[in-house]
């Protein structure tokens, strides 16, 4: 087919390609429902026992700067349909950006053909957990300022002002980025759900670099902001949302200018900081750092698809095998360790009303008093762990990728006994206090990991004794979480998160938050990462 045919579908009003500006205002759900019904009916009448369709418009906005320059201002949008079916007991999926009735029908047929071709290979038929249809429902990220409605100039001014603070503070280089995402997702299935959702995420970030040309060395300090499931209100600083201490950290509001001021000073301090002596240390881990350790060592190994072997060829499997869960007494961590899966947490990256296979979102225990009690599952896995419904963990990064099991927000619950960070540090003889996330690596079954950070402070006899550099810690996941002796109380609780967590083949990205209060881990192996080349 030539370009002309592709561009001019010649369909009636309902089938016409939708104007981009109209899309920004939201496409009429009546149109989406009619289009979705074409796909569902075509799939069913051609042999599908189940079908779902996602009509998605994905909007991104980037403002990219360095020093006093705006390098790029870009708006991207992607609009299309993804149709998933079960035929002859096997999954099939097809996607297209031809959002017309004709495109729906053709793509549904393709999805059925893919399923039937694959069914010839054999294997156990797909078993879906029952799911009631919700009828026509909708959900929207709670926000007060839609980032896409904030003028570009306001974003540019904020980033350039922040960069100006860095340069005035003696930085050699500074990069800053504003990244806004809006997923307008419509889901319909043969179960009778028609779900319209408007999901927003925001991630402001920067990196400051200072160079010592004589020594031929450089150091960076990245922002302590978090990616959030919020609107632009995240960038309205609020004193009550600040956590004071050795450097200021942020809860539900971020002060970019202030953080840039601290970061510039700290990048210089890192150039002169003492290189760490390798050995065993007690680690005091700030939530701005600990989120990533939770993500890698708790979030990923409790994904049920990994446990079962579906990710064996890429991300790997998991040491948290079904027999450990069935025993009901596998000590993942100490009694201080309570971890939940939660797709409902306000302001988090993972919060939606319904997942990408039409399951209402919820909250559940994964680690209870240190014991492994549950996983993260979707509809075709729920029966394996004795559940009669999905936990709502299905997600696809776009209309053109098939949805699969993705991590919900997985968070360490605050300690129940009142405990501040200062009180925690007071009882540490020899330790390192780590703030911000850095380098990260973990094996394919999630036993052995290594993490760096942004800021490292030596703790000697209950007091902060100065900045350290070249720090990374290595541990075994189970030993590490069993060495957790204290978690600060809810006053210190904050969310960190991954804006682009990769998984699957073809690789897909998802956004997920992890909450924690500062926690203490006893006797962890710290290595020195300094090397010289040439």
């Amino acid at each position: 087919m030539g370009a002309g045919a592709m561009m001019l579908p010649g369909m009636n009003a309902l089938g016409k390609t939708i104007d981009p500006l109209q899309a920004l205002e939201g496409v009429d759900v009546k149109i989406k429902k009619e289009l979705a019904d074409v796909a569902l009916n075509t799939a069913k009448s051609n042999g599908a026992s189940y079908a779902d369709v996602r009509i998605g418009r994905y909007l991104n906005q980037f403002v990219v700067t360095r020093e006093n320059k705006v390098l790029n201002v870009a708006n991207t949008e992607s609009y299309g349909i993804g149709i998933r079916v079960i035929a002859n007991g096997c999954w099939g999926f097809a996607a297209t950006n031809d959002v017309t009735k004709e495109g729906m029908a053709k793509t549904a047929l393709k999805a059925v053909a893919v399923a039937k071709a694959n069914a010839k290979i054999g294997g156990a038929p797909v078993q879906l957990a029952p799911q009631k249809g919700y009828g026509e429902v909708n959900w929207k990220t709670p926000l007060t300022k839609n980032a896409f409605e904030v003028p570009i100039k306001e974003k540019v001014d904020l980033l350039l002002n922040a960069n100006g603070v860095a340069m005035a503070g003696g930085a050699n280089f500074v990069n800053s980025i504003m990244f806004a995402v809006n997923e307008q997702k419509y889901f319909a299935s043969t179960d009778g759900s028609y779900i319209d959702q408007d999901v927003h995420r925001l991630y402001p970030s920067f990196t400051v670099t200072k160079i010592d040309p004589t020594a031929g060395s450089f150091e960076t300090r990245r922002s302590l902001s978090s990616p959030v499931g919020m609107g632009y209100e995240y960038l309205d600083p609020l004193e009550s949302e600040k956590v004071l201490g050795v450097t200021t950290r942020y809860k539900k509001r971020y002060d970019m200018i202030e953080d840039m001021k601290f970061a510039t000073k700290q990048a210089g301090e890192k150039l002169k900081a003492k290189s760490v002596e390798p050995g065993k240390y007690d680690l005091v881990l700030d939530p701005s750092h600990l989120w990533l350790t939770i993500h890698e060592s708790v979030g990923h190994p409790t994904e049920l698809d990994r446990v079962l072997g579906y990710e064996a060829n890429f991300a790997g499997t998991s040491f948290l095998t079904l027999d450990k869960w069935k025993s009901g007494k596998f000590n993942f961590g100490s009694k201080a360790v309570n971890i939940v899966g939660d797709k409902t947490q306000v302001g988090s990256l993972g919060a939606v009303g319904y997942d990408d296979e039409g399951v209402k979102c919820k909250k559940w225990d994964i680690i209870k008093d240190g014991v492994l009690v549950n996983y993260q599952a979707i509809r075709d896995q729920a029966h394996i762990i004795g559940l009669n419904e999905s936990q709502g963990c299905c997600y696809s990064q776009s209309w053109q990728d098939v949805q699969f099991q993705r991590m919900p927000n997985v968070s360490l619950q605050p300690g129940k006994t009142p405990l501040s960070v200062d009180e925690m540090i007071k009882n540490v003889e020899k330790g390192v206090y780590i703030i911000g996330d850095g380098s990260f690596s973990i094996d394919q079954q999630r036993y052995n990991f290594q993490f760096g950070g942004q800021l490292f402070y030596e703790i000697k006899e209950g007091k902060i004794a100065g900045m350290l550099n070249d720090v990374a810690y290595q541990a075994n996941t189970q030993e590490f979480w069993n060495s957790c002796t204290q978690v600060c109380d809810e006053r210190d609780y904050r969310l960190g998160g991954a804006f682009n967590d990769g998984k699957g083949q073809p690789a897909q990205s998802s956004a997920v938050s992890h909450g924690a209060s500062t926690a203490l881990f006893k006797g962890v192996n710290v290595i020195n990462t300094k090397r010289k080349i040439g």
Binding site: P9, N172, N313, V402, D443, P506, A507
Partner: protein
């Protein structure tokens, strides 16, 4: 069909440019179609057939630029995307680094298109996977794998008259085989332009062999060892080094920066056996003949006998420094030798054979210190023979240090990175004093 030929792409881009009222305008068009099968536990888990096409418009007034993208193509949408990019450009502050668009250039046609791969269907993919599964079913192993093929095209046109077009194909296959007890694992990965070269049966046999030899792995002390990195392991490690950017080096924030200022250009950075270059017309790993910023790609030496021969210069940085702009690598080819992996093992008194590396991350960008782990087949070598499988290690090592400790290179082959899925031509290599820092229980 999302794959436009050269004439169709030219006509569409010309139509979009006609809507432009900006001082300069550039339109890029990208489309792909293809499919994939993902299988696990010896059955298909997900599979898809995906076609996409997208358009990006950059409008410029003075040095103010704005970019918008869209994947809808009726006339109203095309005009709207141009207007929106113009509105965005007017709102953007001037970018002092903006470079005027390039004029016409006659780019040679590439050799990246392959009709065999372009003709793949859901049924042909299923057949290739069935051949892979026949191996693991017979060997009583569990397979998890991924097969993906694509036909893609890229085209660009600007208001100064530049037009460029490329169409290409790629097929990649990877498979992990595990035993029932979960105590052994093997892996193989292949990538080609022409699907006729892809033999999923033989690749799965290799993975199954690795798995069967891996059972009963022993723990040995971490430390410095001579290692033989198979191409798929070496590729993933070295991928982190293939950034030969002049600007970051001259700014003092790269492994190619020189103490006291300047860069390592012209210096002996690696062992003299190391030659690394790009060549768009390499028949095993062809690339497009033009880069995203409209510069022609030519055969370029990056490392010649261990010496840094060239650095890439963006148009802005080249202008500032008074040198010719040079695009970054379109593909990476590293010369090898004649030795097979068996030859490399035979010449090793004591060492470790590494089949695959995993989860490599940068620890220190200044020294390029990387951390990661071995995976899917790690074996102890003594007196020229594989003695027994060993438990996996975590390593902390820099590819720069590694390529200074280079003992020998084997026969080059096309290999894929297990993380980015980009293809490279890389030989197996023997390295002394490779640093393993701890043990992992992972299989």
């Amino acid at each position: 069909m999302p794959i436009l030929n050269k004439e169709e792409a030219h006509a569409l881009l010309k139509k979009v440019l006609a809507y432009s009222k900006a001082e300069e305008c550039e339109v890029t068009l990208n489309g792909s179609e293809g499919g994939n099968i993902r299988y696990a536990l010896n059955a298909v888990s997900t599979a898809g057939d995906i076609s996409t096409i997208g358009l990006a418009v950059t409008s410029v007034f003075g040095k103010k630029a704005g970019t918008t993208t869209i994947d809808e193509f009726d006339d109203a949408a095309l005009e709207r995307v141009v207007r929106r990019s113009e509105e965005l450009a007017q709102l953007a502050p001037a970018n002092p680094e903006y470079m005027p668009m390039l004029g016409p250039h006659d780019f040679p046609d590439s050799i990246t298109y392959n009709a065999n791969t372009a003709g793949m269907t859901p049924d042909s993919r299923a057949e290739l996977v069935a051949k892979s599964l026949s191996v693991t079913k017979e060997a009583k192993l569990t397979a998890a794998g991924f097969l993906e093929n694509s036909t893609s095209f890229n085209a660009m046109m600007n208001s100064k008259g530049l037009f460029a077009y490329n169409k290409g194909n790629d097929v990649t296959f990877s498979v992990t085989t595990r035993n029932e007890a979960g105590t052994a694992s093997g892996y193989a990965a292949k990538g080609f332009t022409d699907v006729k070269k892809l033999d999923t049966f033989t690749a799965t046999k290799v993975a199954a062999g690795k798995c069967q030899s891996s059972s009963g792995a022993k723990a040995i002390e971490p430390g410095k060892y001579t290692v033989i990195l198979e191409p798929v392991a070496a590729t993933y490690m070295l991928e982190n080094m293939f950034r030969f950017d002049a600007r970051s080096a001259e700014e003092g924030r790269s492994f190619l920066s020189k103490k006291g200022g300047g860069t390592r250009l012209g210096e002996q950075l690696l062992d003299s056996k190391v030659n690394i270059y790009s060549d768009p017309f390499n028949p095993e790993l062809p690339s497009s003949t033009w880069s995203g910023d409209g510069l022609p790609r030519e055969k370029t030496m990056w490392i010649d006998k261990g010496v840094v021969k060239n650095l890439s210069y963006s148009r802005y940085w080249a202008d500032k420094k008074g040198v010719k702009p040079m695009p970054g690598p379109g593909n990476i080819i590293m010369d090898g030798g004649d030795a097979s992996i068996e030859d490399l093992i035979k010449s090793t008194e004591r060492g470790i054979l590494v089949s695959r590396l995993w989860y490599i991350r940068m620890v220190d960008p200044q020294s390029l210190l990387l951390t990661g782990l071995t995976r899917d087949g790690t074996f102890y070598i003594e007196n020229g023979k594989i003695k027994f499988p060993v438990k996996n290690f975590r390593f902390n090592e820099s590819p720069v240090i590694m390529l200074n400790n280079l003992e020998a290179l084997g026969k080059q082959e096309r290999s894929i990175s297990v993380e980015s899925y980009r293809s490279y031509l890389i030989p197996p290599m023997k390295i002394r004093d490779f640093t393993f820092s701890s043990l992992s229980d992972a299989v």
